[in-house]
Symmetry: D2
Subunit: 332 residues, 4 copies
């Protein structure tokens, strides 16, 4: 059986997912849609798919699953439409900027009984996935302290930041999901700090570019997250988990394994700079997991509830940073 | 000229300092004192010094400087006595459990004009000192985010913990000093969390064994500190500083440089377990710095104000952890 | 323009190259051939190509280039046939077990003027390619000493070894090519030693499983190569080049970036075990280079002369090991 | 009981050993001798010892052991004199430039029954000693291939090289001893190559500055050694041992554990440059081992036979390099 896909959104991330589908056995792109005709045409040509409208894709009988890679404010309608049409849904993060909207989606998706995967691609990174598997296998005993470091090579344009929902919703949301993924216990309280240290214009736009958050669980376990919009040495993505029996950490992926030794010392390459390169294997594994979930009729992981929980944490961190006070987290 | 020392306290740390003095040119131990006669006798024999009482040492005309390595509750009287006697003072941390007492010492020591060094030995670790020197040399531009990880191999006895003043005053105080040392700007606000995850008996004794703190400066810079009383892989002492131009980090010192590769992978040694081994070079450098400061008539660094500031942070963290709320820090 | 390929040989390596061609823009597999019909059929289905006979492929007007991935003793005839038919040739290593045969191919291929690439895939490994580019850029000044370590996870069956031409021709030939690639000056003398330390049956089959070679150039530069047929920790592929200004080295690619710290120390993953995984990126880059060379009408690198030189070195090492004496190398 | 030392030779290495003796319990320097009165006086003052002549030290009833740190051509007479006087002997490497002379010493020392330690300090380096202990403990099974890399930061003056006996006797002799130490089986054949690549003046003085040697044992085990008189990145001292179950390697000791990450990548410090710094711990452990051997009346390790064997290998390598041919090694 071949899973037949309709792609909503043919931008950078849509192209990534199209490439993954093409590389997988048992999956094919049937149709693509985009508000920009030239984007849709280009991806159609590259994949051998047809260009259709979003509604046509949702209504099509020859399409089993949709990938939602459109702008965030289109997600809500497309999720509801796809769920009602009984199509499996692969939705990019964030699911929606409004927690209420996501809750509404949860109802509809659950009723429809369709497979839903929220695109937290980092869970599928081979390094992070391996680290988490070893936690589950007991390699370090009970988890006590999770430390997540996430730094972008350079900030996006301030115009993007201004409409991004802010660092906690736009960037740290990945780390909130990772924190939940690793901790295995929900967080009950959170305290966030942040400032615009990289670029004052980011501060003027109402956002921060450097931030740190402490989260705690009911049993007292702790997670530290720090973010920066700038890292001269590449895309800095590290995880460290400390437990009763030891520590697991995942280091950066450097551009090569080459080391140069001179009178200045021993120098290795910068970290891979570009997120599509850094997470290339993750994007492919993510799509494979989705295809397998749909094909086997099981729920996908991370699902819609994970998208909801991460958004709740991002909202709380935004609020905590603004008020300077910790926030007690609501149950999902 | 040879600097003539009187040692107050002949326990483990007193012995360390005696060894450092012996190894340095231009310094000698003239007399030692301890409440336990056998401890005093043993160190006297090892150093070739006399055993005297504390008061005799403070009054002695053949002694230029004292090392205060007695229990913390003796520090206050000994500092005042030594300052009034015009002796240079090397005092172990914490200076005193009471911020008010330390403030009182500041007055007396300043009036006396004697050299005072607070024994934050980690500043003198060659790795950390080098890291900080590179910050000052501009290697990473303006500091934005400091991350300090400090984990002991195993918790001390609960009986010790019960009278230790708690993790923030007993253990994290080193990290508070390191944070100030690295950041170069005073902190204005702090939020601490913690729990007894290693041993419930520590919780029953009113303390935590796992903790994390976020500190911020007036300009928005951030410091994260995390502590655990247990680390299976040795004495975990790491620093990471992120700045405008890059990152500096100091890794653990492992027992050897040997790596074993088998079908289980590539394995290096645990971190050096014992703090006296890990900080052996630091203790010697610390004493050398003190001798140089006294000999040249300059102030020592870290001084008494650094001892005060660290204690203020430790008190604030203790309070924050208990109340669950951030604390605005008073000026020193 | 699309380069149209005929694949001779549909075994493991033929499948790798088929996958690479499929992944590249501007290249397509038109036909495949294999002595085993089921192998040919399977690869035809996977690529959408036709099954044809070798002669039909060589004679076909709709085929521009052939990939020769058949058993080594078929290479000679297929190279001559393809060259005479004016087809570009991508030939797996070793080109032929007989240096005389390779010399005969050189004549024919040069006369035909077709592009020829010898499949020394390791030159295209991103790490090794980067290391070599830095040598050329002067990062370490003049090269003085090259050290190549190459160890397989486990020996092949003795039945394979018995007809393999021996370790120097079957395994170390890659390292001979790498040595030439890195050194940039031909070798003039060689001394080889070896023994069957891994498995006595390999010795009984007339071969060695552990070997070391020293090569020197006319100007006195030195290369050390060591091989083992067994490495418990994975596929061990390292290079180190020492020059006037410093050293470059390429380390192994480990399975993940994860490190586990326990009371046993700090443990990273084994090296990637399987050569197809380890050199996945290299195989793709190699095919890309071939397509670009053919398309632009330039010579490919490594070419047929590189295949010849490596075979000369492998023969000399085999002889040196047998006689226990160094061998002066003939000019190519 | 305190072991009473006479020091013959008060140069750089004599001072190192004096410092070690001073730092050890149960050992003291009674007298020192040097052809230069000011050198003897300085070390006498630093240690609290007397200045005496060599003969007076050898004849002294208040001296138990001598450290021979004089120029190599004085060793022979001093060894014979000390042995006949019944004194334990700590002799710097090389024992003597003449294998026959060393053989003569063996006879005399064995007859005298005195403890003799040959100063191959690297065996006592904590890293190398630990690596070897793990081999003995079976961590990697049977040893198959030993690789030793040894590079000095910069060549000594050509005037020194001219009277040094050549690179194999002056520098690689340490590595020959290390090879024997690690392999645990004597070598039977050796092939050496070398050239003056660092400085042509070294070649004009009849020596090489870059060299590689392959050694084999009767059972076919292999050792590769490479040396260079220049390494821009510090004192490069590495060992790698490959065995049936895996690999052990000892990496360089860097100046600090600090890493700097910038847009140029991740940079660690150079290797420790100065051999006295790099082997500080080894020198102390070496003297401790000697004191313990003398005190307990056991033989020291490495003994005089180890000095002999290393010299035989160095002679053979010198000869092999000159003739271009392998050398079969005589039994000791």
């Amino acid at each position: 059986m071949t899973l037949k896909f309709g792609l909503l959104g043919c931008g950078r991330i849509g192209q990534v997912h199209a490439r993954s589908i093409k590389a997988l056995d048992g999956a094919t792109v049937v149709a693509v849609a985009d508000a920009l005709p030239e984007a849709a045409n280009a991806l159609a040509e590259a994949t051998g798919a047809e260009v259709r409208g979003v509604d046509a894709i949702l209504a099509a009988s020859d399409i089993d699953a949709v990938v939602i890679g459109t702008p965030t404010d289109s997600h809500f309608d497309q999720i509801l439409g796809a769920a009602k049409a009984g199509k499996a849904i692969f939705c990019e993060k964030p699911v929606d900027m409004s927690v209420d909207n996501i809750r509404a989606c949860v109802d509809v998706v659950e009723k429809a009984g369709v497979t839903f995967l929220t695109g937290f691609n980092r869970r599928f990174d081979p390094n992070f996935a391996s680290l988490r598997a070893r936690i589950r296998d007991g390699a370090i005993g009970a988890v006590e302290l999770v430390t997540i470091t996430s730094r972008d090579p350079a900030p996006p344009p301030v115009s993007y930041i201004a409409r991004s929902g802010g660092l906690f919703r736009d960037m740290m949301i990945h780390d909130f999901d990772m924190a939940r993924f690793l901790m295995g216990e929900e967080f009950v309280r959170l305290h966030a700090v942040g400032a615009a240290l990289v670029d004052p214009a980011i501060g003027e736009a109402g956002d921060v570019d450097t931030a740190a958050v402490i989260l705690t669980t009911a049993s007292g376990r702790i997670c530290q997250i720090s973010n920066s919009r700038r890292a001269a040495y590449g895309y800095d993505q590290r995880i460290e988990v400390h437990g009763a029996l030891g520590m697991l950490r995942a280091e950066n992926q450097l551009e090569t394994t080459v080391e140069l030794a001179t009178d200045a010392g021993f120098r290795r390459d910068p970290a891979q700079h570009f997120f599509l390169q850094r997470y290339e294997a993750a994007y492919l594994a993510e799509m494979r997991a989705f295809v397998e979930a749909v094909t086997s009729g099981t729920q996908a992981d991370p699902g819609l509830m994970d998208g909801l929980q991460a958004q709740i944490l991002a909202d709380a961190a935004t609020h905590s940073r603004e008020t300077g006070l910790p926030v007690d987290l609501p149950a999902a």
